[in-house]
């Protein structure tokens, strides 16, 4: 494994097991998230305002881990959502991939314990995600009631995502500690 840090440090042997999130771990995780979002969440939270679980995971992983992985997660997760959706195919894949790429650029090793960064990121990402999808749908000929959609779906969903993001962020940080190479003196 390539040592991305100072060569004076020695990588702990156990870190080689999960030194990166392999597809064999990521794909089942994203499938589970897609199933929960389309099957379970509508049962507990009926109506159009529901947490965007896949979006929160993609954005959160981008802020926590970065390194281009969030864009990948977004593309794969979006493809899975597209299979369940009646919207034009590719809508979720491209929008989640784009948002994941933006989240990757915000990844930082500094202030990672500062919760404001992922909260602000998910709020902005939620707005971009939903408004972007609506813009694409309008370009494809669908009629969009922007005022109604913005105030009744986009804003409440963005707020809901922001409220729930601390929990998702905490889980992802724990996951990141497992997959990042651990260092020993």
């Amino acid at each position: 494994m390539k040592d991305e840090t100072n060569s004076a440090f020695i990588l702990h042997p156990s870190s080689f097991i999960l030194s990166s999130m392999s597809p064999y771990l990521v794909l089942p995780l994203l499938i589970l998230i897609a199933l929960v979002q389309t099957t379970l969440l509508p049962i507990f939270i009926p109506g159009p305002v529901r947490p965007d679980l896949m979006l929160m995971v993609v954005v959160g992983w981008g802020v926590v881990h970065g390194n281009g992985q969030a864009a990948l997660w977004g593309l794969v997760g979006g493809l899975l959502l597209d299979l369940f959706s009646g919207a034009p195919f590719g809508l979720h894949a491209l929008s989640l991939g784009g948002v994941g790429w933006l989240a990757d650029t915000l990844q930082t090793n500094f202030f990672r314990s500062n919760l404001l960064i992922p909260l602000a990121t998910i709020f902005v990402a939620s707005l971009l995600y939903h408004i972007g999808q609506a813009a694409v749908m309008q370009a494809l000929g669908f009629t969009i009631n922007w005022a109604f959609y913005s105030f009744n779906v986009v804003m409440p969903t963005a707020i809901l995502n922001t409220v729930l993001m601390p929990l998702v962020y905490w889980i992802l940080r724990r996951l990141d500690r497992v997959v990042r190479p651990r260092l020993t003196w």
Binding site: I31, T38, T39, L40, V49, Q69, F84, H92
Partner: protein, 297 residues
């Protein structure tokens, strides 16, 4: 070259190519094999998740619902009493209708279609389970666990005892996609039960669960609390399926038509089981000959 495809950039490129292939496949209607494979794998997992969730919910929710249930029972008892009276009256009308039709030798296009959704469901154990709802609020679709193997075809109406839910738009081996009434692309020919004025009921989508009935004649063609039914015009849906109830009428002097806002009779956000009307065959208007005028002498 091989290094490119082993790298993350290469992987992203492959995924983007897959997305565009998927767009092409769906737009040409050739996505069937992929979706059959997908839902064939996911459907058992979805059913398991729903069953597990219902079990946990029943366990913890039961204790909190006793008082609410008592009030609900009382309310339902009152409604039942009213419904019994109405049921007797309706049954009398059905008998009279049947006798009159026999006298006129009137033949319906779908003689096996039953008027009552409740009756249909009671006599048919073959309900379809709702496996998933659309993840986007911009469109309104559900996935059900019946498809070609259960003789479901595109265009079939989907109902519950409360009324019309939507229609089947895509069919796989053992799954189907159903377009809900409240989607912006949903359009149903409808009639006002009291005045028999006809119009078109469309969904508003984008998070709204209300419907709008358009192209109603100006004047007293509709009022609040009127019941809206399917008219059967066009042949896509059978007649007399309940769509909803009028909650608001919009009419301005400058408008050519009246509009009515309708609350659907079915709660489209809490669907668990639905019934596909397989005995109803939608009229294929593309095969009907175009009427041509007789040549003038």
């Amino acid at each position: 070259m091989l290094d490119l495809f082993r790298s993350r950039t290469g992987f992203v490129l492959i995924l983007i190519v897959l997305v565009f292939i998927g767009i092409a496949l769906r737009s040409t209607g050739n996505m069937g094999l992929v979706q059959d494979a997908t839902f064939g794998v996911f459907a058992p997992a979805q059913s398991f998740l729903i069953d597990a969730t219902n079990g946990v919910t029943n366990l913890f929710g039961g204790f909190q619902e006793v008082n609410a249930l008592r009030a609900q029972v009382k309310q339902l008892q009152e409604q039942l009493n009213t419904a019994v009276i109405d049921s007797v009256r309706v049954r009398e009308l059905e008998i009279e209708n049947s006798e009159l039709r026999a006298q006129l030798e009137y033949k319906q296009a779908n003689p096996d279609y039953l008027l009552s959704g409740v009756t249909v469901l009671q006599e048919n154990d073959n309900r379809a389970r709702v496996l998933a709802q659309d993840p986007s609020a911009l469109v309104n679709y559900i996935i059900i666990d019946q498809g070609r193997e259960e003789e479901v075809t595109v265009g079939m109406p989907v109902i519950t005892p409360a009324g019309l839910v939507g229609r089947v738009t895509e069919v796989g081996a053992n799954w189907s996609r159903v377009l809900l009434l409240n989607d912006t692309t949903s359009s149903v020919n409808a009639v006002v039960q009291s005045t028999r004025a006809t119009g078109i009921v469309q969904g508003q989508g984008q998070g709204s669960d209300l419907l709008v009935m358009r192209y109603l004649p100006l004047g007293a063609s509709v009022k609040e609390d009127d019941l809206i039914l399917t008219s059967g015009i066009g042949g896509a849906f059978p007649k007399r399926l309940v769509l909803g109830q009028v909650i608001q009428v919009n009419q301005r002097d400058t408008d050519l038509f009246t509009e009515a806002i309708i609350r659907p009779s079915v709660d489209l956000t809490r669907l668990e089981y639905v019934l596909v009307m397989k005995k109803f065959t939608p009229t294929d208007i593309t095969t009907e000959p175009t009427p041509t005028p007789a040549p003038s002498p």
